[in-house]
């Protein structure tokens, strides 16, 4: 198997297998016959931390648009709404990760896939362009994280 690409998030490597493509919203997509299987990239998992809870707000059979909100994830470091990486019809969700979201941390590129769709791979990036996308957006992603981490909702007079 070809060597995966690595994107360094500070001192932490995000491993990116080259046998699949990636969406700009940090999900991987791999063709499985007539369906497209989707999961989180290591970049996403690294930012989120240990997965605690995963839920979908749409049902199997739903036609979704690229960027449509389809679910929610809560992890040790962060929460996020989840968005479809491409247009298509959802054919299945992975029950294993719904019942044990922690599988995503241990097996994110294999058995811990999130869902399968039938659709067109519009707008997906090959691994190298995805790494370039990460390189280009990493400083701004950091600013976003730090800006939010620095938010100050309860100003204390001290």
């Amino acid at each position: 198997m070809p060597k995966p690409l690595v994107f360094m998030m500070g001192q932490s490597p995000a491993i990116l297998p080259v046998d699949r493509r990636y969406a700009r919203n940090h999900m991987w997509v791999i063709e499985m016959g007539e369906t497209l299987r989707v999961g989180f990239s290591a970049y996403a998992v690294r930012l989120l931390g240990d997965m605690r809870h995963l839920e979908w707000s749409v049902e199997v059979g739903t036609e979704v648009l690229a960027g449509q909100q389809i679910g929610f994830v809560e992890a040790s470091k962060a929460t996020s709404d989840l968005y479809s990486p491409m247009p298509g019809r959802i054919t299945s969700f992975n029950d294993s990760v719904l019942s044990d979201p922690g599988l995503i941390n241990s097996n994110l590129y294999d058995s811990a896939w999130l869902m399968e769709l039938q659709g067109v791979c519009d707008g997906l990036l090959d691994p190298e362009p995805y790494v370039r996308h990460l390189e280009a957006s990493w400083p701004l992603a950091q600013r976003l994280l730090k800006g939010q981490a620095g938010r100050n909702p309860n100003q204390d007079p001290r």
Binding site: A78, T79, D81, S137, L140, R143, Q148
Partner: protein, 280 residues
């Protein structure tokens, strides 16, 4: 029998007249108590661990009271990190505990000075042996040391689980490990002023930035850790990075307009300036 209990009074950072007034009121009231041996030191958080004031504090072996502009938990672990032995005491009975008790009383601009003095009196009254009282009428001891405003994480070792998430997350090389692989704040002054991100990343809420405006980050033991999680929806929507930056700028501007300026508020100005310079 001791004549008096060491009371360490940490000065505020310069510039706030209300705080200076409170200092004067409290130090005068403390000096009127013969059972108090008062020493005034520069702002505790800004002291260098290797400096003469921390060295002086390390030499105090008896139970002591520390009054500072920090939450008690933040003050205690700042001292502990500098090698000052003891345990954070809360009740007068804690004087019976195995380790030397250190009472840490937190000040802020709106604190009722009477509540601080009452607490000092309560601790003095609970002393294992009564104090004979100072016979002199001297001024408080003042430790003078050049300090600068610092920004670095303080770890609550009672909460830290040793997961090293902070080490992995920090981009500035602040953290390291010792020979037992325990977390170490290796280069505190490499920390980016104003950035408390590792505090939010810490699953145990063990990392404090005592000068941060959010009580859950600055060391309030009672503050909830809920709501500290980052919301990454913007990143995971696949939004264009320039749109993210604009949203960040808008948030920074909104924050500046809606809230009083924190001590480290200049960072917001520079952040907005930086983003403006990007010509997005």
């Amino acid at each position: 029998m001791c004549d008096a209990m060491p009371v360490i009074f940490s000065e505020p950072r310069p510039g706030d007249a209300d705080q200076q007034e409170l200092v004067l009121l409290l130090t005068n009231a403390l000096m009127s108590r013969k059972a108090v041996d008062l020493t005034i030191v520069p702002h505790l958080y800004d002291l260098e661990p290797t400096g003469p004031t921390m060295e002086f504090l390390r030499e105090i072996e008896e139970p002591m009271i520390v009054i500072s502009w920090l939450y008690p938990r933040a003050a205690f672990w700042t001292l502990k990190t500098a090698g000052i032995a003891g345990q954070l005491a809360e009740e007068p009975a804690d004087q019976e505990e195995r380790e030397r008790p250190v009472w840490c009383l937190g000040l802020h601009s709106e604190v009722d000075p009477k509540s601080i003095l009452d607490e000092v009196d309560r601790i003095l009254a609970g002393a294992a042996a009564p104090f004979s009282g100072r016979s002199d009428n001297r001024e408080p001891t003042r430790r003078v040391e050049d300090t600068r405003e610092r920004w670095y994480p303080v770890i609550d070792r009672d909460r830290c689980s040793g997961c090293l998430e902070c080490l992995n997350f920090c981009l500035f090389g602040v953290y390291g490990t010792d020979s037992s692989d325990d977390i170490l704040i290796e280069q505190p002054d490499a920390c980016r002023p104003g950035c408390p991100a590792c505090s939010r990343i810490c699953p145990e809420g063990a990392i404090m930035f005592p000068q941060h405006g959010d009580p859950a980050i600055s060391g309030d033991a009672k503050a909830s850790l809920e709501g500290l999680k980052l919301d990454l929806s913007q990143l995971f929507s696949g939004a264009d990075p320039s749109a993210q930056a604009l949203a960040e700028r808008d948030r920074a501007v909104e924050t500046m307009q809606s809230q009083p300026k924190p001590a480290g508020g200049d960072r917001l100005d520079s952040l907005v300036d930086e983003l403006d310079e990007m010509d997005l």
